[in-house]
Symmetry: C2
Subunit: 202 residues, 2 copies
């Protein structure tokens, strides 16, 4: 349901085509919501049916004609009403945390590699958000206050994940885990990694 609203928000700063919106979503400007172009076109169609957006075809040679969408008065009303009903709190739901939770049953070296990759990813994201955030520094108009607050969430999210990754890598290092873990593995009944596959089959 929310993609429609995210698209409307994208339209608040001027008319855009589906292609424009998709690009904006992909080029990391779509910080807090994303979608593939196939879904965007579908939702744009629905927005138009609903009267929340209007469209205008712009002739082009060669490429297919651009169809640019604008938000309507109804659409703006839709945004306000949307903001008036409480949004769903994002619960943690993450493969990776499930894997950690079941550390005894997974490949720890693979997990570490994964954490390393994630750390890099989070650092990259952090830089991007920081640049956006810096650009708003000192601004006190409504829009910018909202964007600052939203970007703060994003900054904290990325920074904390990056820092946690650092700590996790240390705690899961063979040196750190090694002797202790081995001892305890035997004691616990040696469930770690693949001790079950007695047959070595497959």
């Amino acid at each position: 349901m929310s993609l429609q609203h995210a698209i409307l928000v994208a339209l608040t700063d001027g008319e855009k085509s589906g292609y424009d919106i998709a690009k904006q979503f992909d080029d990391s400007t779509g910080f807090f919501w994303r979608a593939r172009h196939s879904q965007i076109y579908r939702e744009l169609g629905k927005l138009k049916e609903r009267g929340w957006a209007s469209s205008q075809e712009i002739e082009q040679s060669g490429k297919p004609n651009r169809i640019v969408f604008s938000i309507t008065a109804e659409g703006r009303k839709g945004l306000v009403e949307w903001s008036q009903k409480p949004s769903q709190v994002q619960e943690l739901k993450d493969d990776f945390l499930v894997q950690l939770y079941a550390l005894e049953h997974v490949d720890i070296e693979a997990l570490r590699a994964n954490i390393l990759a994630r750390r890099e990813r989070h650092r990259d994201h952090l830089k991007q958000y920081q640049a956006k955030y810096d650009a708003l520094e000192g601004s006190t108009n409504l829009t910018d206050i909202g964007r600052q607050l939203a970007l703060e969430v994003a900054l904290i999210y990325e920074r904390e994940w990056a820092e946690w990754s650092e700590r996790a890598l240390a705690r899961l290092s063979p040196e750190m885990l090694g002797p202790e873990a081995l001892k305890l593995e035997q004691q616990a009944g040696a469930t770690n990694v693949v001790p079950i596959a007695r047959g070595e089959a497959d």
Copy 2:
């Protein structure tokens, strides 16, 4: 795809019925993954087909028979392989952040109420996670290290959201926003809230 693995993880500490798993997921023990029972039963069926779980029917009077599932050797292998391919990084995707990003176009008082409710929610969650975390204190076996690390993520997540909420409430308070915001609203062309609905219709 991951629900299957989350279910398998739930089965690593003993055989369970679909009902048990659903309860575990709902009772907040399903910290990092959740699902409705309808989906759980479906996925249990698939796990069985795949040979990753086996089931056993337990006769009961009155209620439908319990069907308890156990993880198989193949299932354990599945878990290891699952952990070996990099998991998807969870990107921020949140209605609420989109609303903040479009602060000029939404109902700020409603947003504040929303933030307040979220703060309470995050505080509750924080307590739950903290209790779980405290119970693991000092433990150095593999499983517990994994759980500590996973719970740390959860703790940080909830704590940071709660603290951010506090700051956001302050920055979005009428006193803080009032005069400044009003000034800038006029200057910006007064796009805030519902200034569009000239007709007062609907």
